[in-house]
C-alpha cells in the first residue's frame, strides 16, 4: 500500500468538513465505532477547535460486538459527543444485502426525516471498493436516498454540492482520499483511541468491522498499531475481504450504494 502525505489528507478533510458545516444547516455524522469514522471525529475536533459540532449517529442492530458497545460509551464520554442511537430490526436469517440494505437504511431514513438532517458525514474511502472510488466529496442523494451514479455532478475547484443542487440530502465524504495505511498511520501519530477488535487475539484480527453477522476476522499476529502498519505495507489482499455484502456478487455493492447504503 502506498504511503500518502498525511498533512495533505488532513487538510483536505478539514476543508471538506468546514464546507459542509458552512453550507448546510443541519449536519450529522455516522459513527460505527470503527477506525475510519473514529478518525473522522478526531479530524472534526481539529477542524472545529476541540469539539465535534454535530450529532453522531450509531445505527444499532443490537448485534455489534460487546467491545464495540464498550468503546462507544468510552469515547462518547471522553470527547463529549452528542450521540444518537437508532435501533434497527434484525432477524437471524438476515445477512449482507438484506441486512445492510433494508435494515440499516430504513432506520437511517426514519431518523433523517425526524431530525431533518440535510448533510450526513460518512467516512468511506476510495480504496475500499471500486464503487466507492467513483464517489464525490459531497454527493447528493434524492428524497428516497437514491444515488444517481450515472449522472453525478461535476466536482472541481472546491465547488461542492450546495442546497441548490439537491432534492434530498448530501453525503459528505471527508476521508475519500485516505487509504487504509494512512488511517492507521494517523491513528498512531495522533494517538486516537481505537476499538480493540482490530488487534490480534488468538492469531486473528478484524481488518474491517461490521456487525457480528457479516464480519469475519483474518489470520494475523498484529497486536499493536505498529504491527498493523507493517502488515498493511506488504499485504496484497483486500481490506473488506471479511465483509459479507461485498463478496456475495460483484455488483451487490453498487446496488446497495445506489439504494442508500454507505
Amino acid at each position: 500500500m502506498i504511503k500518502q502525505d498525511l498533512n495533505e489528507l488532513e487538510e483536505r478533510s478539514i476543508f471538506i468538513m468546514r464546507e459542509a458545516k458552512s453550507k448546510f444547516k443541519n449536519v450529522a455524522a455516522l459513527w460505527s465505532m470503527g477506525k475510519d469514522s473514529t478518525t473522522m471525529l478526531a479530524l472534526a475536533r481539529k477542524a472545529f477547535l476541540g469539539k465535534v459540532p454535530f450529532p453522531v449517529i450509531h445505527i444499532d442492530n443490537s448485534i455489534d460486538f460487546p467491545e464495540t458497545y464498550a468503546f462507544r460509551e468510552y469515547l462518547t464520554k471522553k470527547w463529549n459527543l452528542d450521540l444518537i442511537v437508532v435501533k434497527s430490526e434484525i432477524k437471524p436469517e438476515m445477512s449482507g444485502f438484506s441486512c445492510c440494505g433494508a435494515n440499516k437504511t430504513v432506520a437511517l431514513k426514519k431518523l433523517m426525516k425526524e431530525r431533518g438532517f440535510d448533510a450526513l458525514i460518512v467516512s468511506i474511502r476510495r480504496d475500499e471498493h471500486g464503487i466507492r472510488a467513483k464517489e464525490r466529496y459531497v454527493s447528493p442523494r434524492d428524497v428516497n436516498f437514491k444515488w444517481d451514479y450515472k449522472n453525478q455532478r461535476a466536482e472541481l475547484w472546491d465547488d461542492y454540492a450546495s442546497k441548490s443542487d439537491i432534492k434530498g440530502h448530501v453525503r459528505v465524504h471527508p476521508l475519500l482520499d485516505w487509504n487504509e495505511l494512512s488511517v492507521w498511520e494517523y491513528i498512531k501519530k495522533e494517538k486516537i483511541p481505537i476499538n480493540p477488535l482490530y488487534y490480534s487475539r488468538n492469531g486473528n484480527r478484524y481488518r474491517s468491522l461490521g456487525c457480528t453477522h457479516c464480519s469475519s476476522p483474518h489470520k494475523s499476529n498484529a497486536k499493536n498499531i505498529n504491527d498493523i502498519i507493517n502488515e498493511l505495507e506488504t499485504t496484497r489482499s483486500e481490506e473488506r475481504a471479511g465483509r459479507e455484502q461485498d463478496k456475495e456478487k460483484s455488483y451487490v455493492m453498487a446496488k446497495l450504494r445506489s439504494l442508500g447504503y454507505m
Partner: protein, 404 residues
C-alpha cells in the same frame, strides 16, 4: 509521500483502461481479489479477460466496455508514487472527465497509432481542457505501435501535428514529451523497448518518473487566503479559510477584500494555536476588530497588496451545453448571477479564434461577464485558485472558465 496525480486522457477505444490495468498488474499495485473479481466478471459477460476490467467497477462499464466515471488507481515506481485518474473518453461524459482531470498535476494523453484511429477531435479537445484546467505538463503516449511495425515515420507525423497544436493553445515546448509504446505488447511501458532503436527517450513509466522529480511548480510568496465563513467554537467565534499562497502569520496586518485593513489577533492551524500557516493549510483566525457582513468568498491579502474586487470579468470559457439561459458562476464558495456576452469563439481542435459569437457545445469562447455582485479575483495565470470558476445555467452544470 506526495503522490503525483496524473490524468489519463484520450479518445475512447484508444486503450486507456487497458494501459492502466496493465501498469497496475506490472507494478503489482492491485490486490489479487480485485483481479479475481475482474476475471469473474469477464466470465459472467462471456468475454475474454481484459486488464481494463480491474478498473471499470460499474456493471455498465464492463458491459459497454467504457469508463463512465472517473476511476483512480495508485502505483509506485522507484521512490515515486502516482495516482492515475482515468477519465471517460466519451464525448457525452465530459463533465466526469473535467471533474477527474481537475485534480491532476500532469496529464498522459493516449493516442492510437493504428492506421484507422490516430488523432481525433476528442484528442485535441482533451488537451485544450487540460490547458484550461491549469495542467502544464503532458506526456503524449503514442499507443498501438505494434500495429504499424514500430514505424518511426508515423510516430514523427503524430508528434509534429500535435506539437503545433499544443504550442497554439499555450503549452510550452519543455512541458511536452512524446513516448511511442504498445500497452498490448508491453513495449516501452515499464522497460525501454528493444523494438524502437530510433527512439532515444525513456519508457512511459520512466518519463513519468522524470516529471515527478522535476515538477516545476512555481513558488508564490504573495499572501492569499480565501475565507470560507464564520465558525462557532468553545473559545468564541472564528473566521475560517484556506491559505492558497504565501504565509499567514499571527500579529501581521492584512487587507480583507472587499473590506479594510485588520490585524490578525489569533491564528489556529490543525486545531492548535500557531504562529504561521502556509499554503494549503486551513486556518481559523480572530481579527483585531469586527469584520461585518458576509465572510464567504472574501480574500485576505498582505498589507499594501490588495487585489481588486470587480463585477466584470474577461474569461475563456468551455461550454458543455448548447445554450445558456440563466448564467451563474460558482467561484470560491460564492454563487453569483451573471450576464454573459460572447466576444468571439475559440476552436478547441485548431486553437484558432473565430469571429462568430455563439455558444458551441463542447466548444470554447472568449466572454465578458457582468456579475450581480463585486467579487475579488485575479487572472488565472497570476493565482489559479482566484481566477477560475464553474459555469452554471440555473442549477445545471454548463462549463468552466478561467479569468484573463
Amino acid at each position: 509521500m506526495l503522490i503525483n496525480k496524473i490524468t489519463l486522457l484520450g479518445h475512447k477505444d484508444h486503450g486507456k483502461s487497458t494501459l492502466l490495468g496493465s501498469l497496475l498488474m506490472a507494478t503489482k499495485s492491485v490486490t489479487e481479489q480485485r483481479i479475481e473479481e475482474a476475471k469473474k466478471a469477464s466470465k459472467q459477460l462471456h468475454r475474454q479477460f481484459e486488464p481494463g476490467y480491474i478498473l471499470d467497477s460499474f456493471a455498465e462499464e464492463r458491459e459497454n466496455e467504457m469508463t463512465i466515471d472517473t476511476t483512480r488507481a495508485q502505483i509506485k515506481y522507484k521512490d515515486a508514487a502516482f495516482e492515475f485518474i482515468d477519465v471517460p473518453g466519451h464525448e457525452e461524459l465530459i463533465k466526469n472527465m473535467i471533474s477527474g482531470a481537475s485534480y491532476a498535476n500532469f496529464a498522459v494523453l493516449l493516442i492510437s497509432a493504428k492506421s484507422d484511429e490516430g488523432i481525433r477531435d476528442q484528442t485535441k479537445r482533451h488537451l485544450f481542457l487540460a490547458k484550461l484546467l491549469g495542467i502544464q505538463k503532458v506526456i503524449i503516449a503514442v499507443n498501438k505501435m505494434d500495429t504499424i511495425d514500430y514505424d518511426k515515420k508515423e510516430f514523427s507525423r503524430i508528434s509534429k501535428e500535435l506539437s503545433a497544436f499544443l504550442g497554439k493553445i499555450g503549452f510550452s515546448e519543455s512541458g511536452i514529451y512524446f513516448v511511442p509504446m504498445s500497452a498490448y505488447a508491453n513495449e516501452n511501458l515499464v522497460k525501454k523497448s528493444g523494438k524502437m532503436g530510433w527512439y532515444k527517450g525513456g519508457s512511459l513509466l520512466e518519463t513519468m518518473y522524470s516529471f515527478a522529480k522535476n515538477p516545476g511548480l512555481k513558488s508564490d510568496n504573495k499572501l492569499r487566503v480565501v475565507l470560507q465563513g464564520r465558525m462557532e467554537s468553545e473559545s468564541g467565534e472564528k473566521i475560517v479559510g484556506k491559505v492558497i499562497s504565501g504565509t499567514l502569520k499571527s500579529g501581521i496586518k492584512v487587507n480583507v477584500v472587499p473590506g479594510a485593513a485588520y490585524t490578525v489577533k489569533e491564528l489556529f492551524v490543525k486545531g492548535k494555536k500557531s504562529n504561521s500557516a502556509r499554503r494549503g493549510e486551513n486556518i481559523a483566525i480572530t481579527l483585531n476588530k469586527k469584520l461585518s457582513g458576509e465572510v464567504r468568498g472574501r480574500v485576505l491579502c498582505g498589507s499594501g497588496d490588495a487585489i481588486k474586487a470587480s463585477d466584470s470579468l474577461n474569461a475563456l470559457v468551455f461550454f458543455t451545453t448548447k445554450s445558456i439561459k440563466r448564467p451563474r458562476i460558482r467561484f470560491n464558495g460564492l454563487e453569483v448571477n451573471a450576464d454573459m456576452t460572447i466576444e468571439n469563439s475559440v476552436s478547441v481542435v485548431t486553437g484558432e479564434i473565430k469571429s462568430e459569437r455563439k455558444i458551441t457545445e463542447l466548444g470554447a469562447a472568449n466572454v465578458r461577464l457582468k456579475l450581480g455582485d463585486k467579487i475579488p479575483s485575479e487572472s488565472f495565470d497570476e493565482t489559479p485558485e482566484l481566477g477560475r470558476f464553474v459555469l452554471y445555467d440555473g442549477n445545471d452544470f454548463a462549463g468552466i472558465g478561467t479569468v484573463k
